[in-house]
Amino acid sequence: MFRPLADRLLHALRVPGEPHDPEGQSLLVFRADEGYYRYRVAIFWLFRLLFLVVCGYVGFFAVLIASAVLGDHKSKRAFPVDPGTLQTIVLVVAAILAVLYLAHATIAWATLRLDYELRWYKVTDRSLRIREGVWFVREMTMSFANIQNIAVVQGPIQKLFAVSDLMVQSAGGGSGEQGKSLHVGYFRGIARAEEVRDLILERLRKLKDSGLGDADDAHVTVEDALREVRDEARALSATAQRRVRA
């Protein structure tokens, strides 16, 4: 039931399939864990519940206040609308809101599953690519040479579902709000995030050792070569002078 509908939706929205592999060797592909889906569903229901509780709370007081006001003015007929009509209006508005709410909830619910399925985190020996999103599809590419910070982030509810986010940061500021900055990428909802972190750190270290991609290292090598040439020239001139004297 879900599959054909989802496939049709994905086709209608022109959602692209698996992203291309980024440049580099020894590709590893990570996907969001099953626990991430369950975590998102839990959050989904938690917020729905919270929303309904708040709605009920506000609605209760609204009715209380309205009835008090109406009750006061009933005899004087100061209120322009007949209480019966008002009740109908309130009910109709409430019904429309409820339908909208349910429609939104259904779409959000369906998107949850797809959002979980359409996640790819690809890591090669020199770069990584993060793909996420259903309505808005985002693909982020970073090279290891530019990565500044890697951290594992896990909230209390995520801990219950044994998943965590791996945060990857490149240089450059943001507006304080880290989640909004384009310089930060997340491997959301992976199981064993520590292992993935260690793996990336390992690859970062290797990159540093071989000096790949670092403009500064290349510069030093040129200088070394120049020094070698100078030494050689010096030795040559010494030999030449010896020959002249001899």
Binding site: E23, V137, G172, G173, L182, A225, T239
Partner: protein, 153 residues
Amino acid sequence: MDAIYAITRPHPRLLTQYVLQALFAGPLSPLILLILYFRYKTMEYRFDEHGVSKRYGILIRREVNLTYSRIQDIHLGSGPIQRWLGLADVQVQTASGNAGAEMVIEGLLEYEAVRDFLYTRMRGVRDDRPGDSSVALLREIRDELRATREALG
């Protein structure tokens, strides 16, 4: 690669995208449509060996120049409308303080090729570093000097 160097103007579908985008703005639609129309009309890209530049605007001219090697990360983003039109935004960022993108390359059908093109020129993606050829050259000079010295000695 030459196909990328040849890019100067966005695809006409970008105008369609802008019109639809403006429609979503509600009462402000006409104003936004006007702004976006002129943005489309004046938008120009230039890709060369070292960097990419984008300029647009009539009253306020804007120009962004980026060097490939300074690129920090590249994002590819697309909403449903853009995907319908076969377009996507390539958001390019350097290490500046902006949380947003320094340059958004929009309205190109070959966005994926552009992304890959920029990406392979980013720091740390390819082996061939600027110093490599100079080092090889210097090594040759050194060997030549050494040969002369040995011939003399």
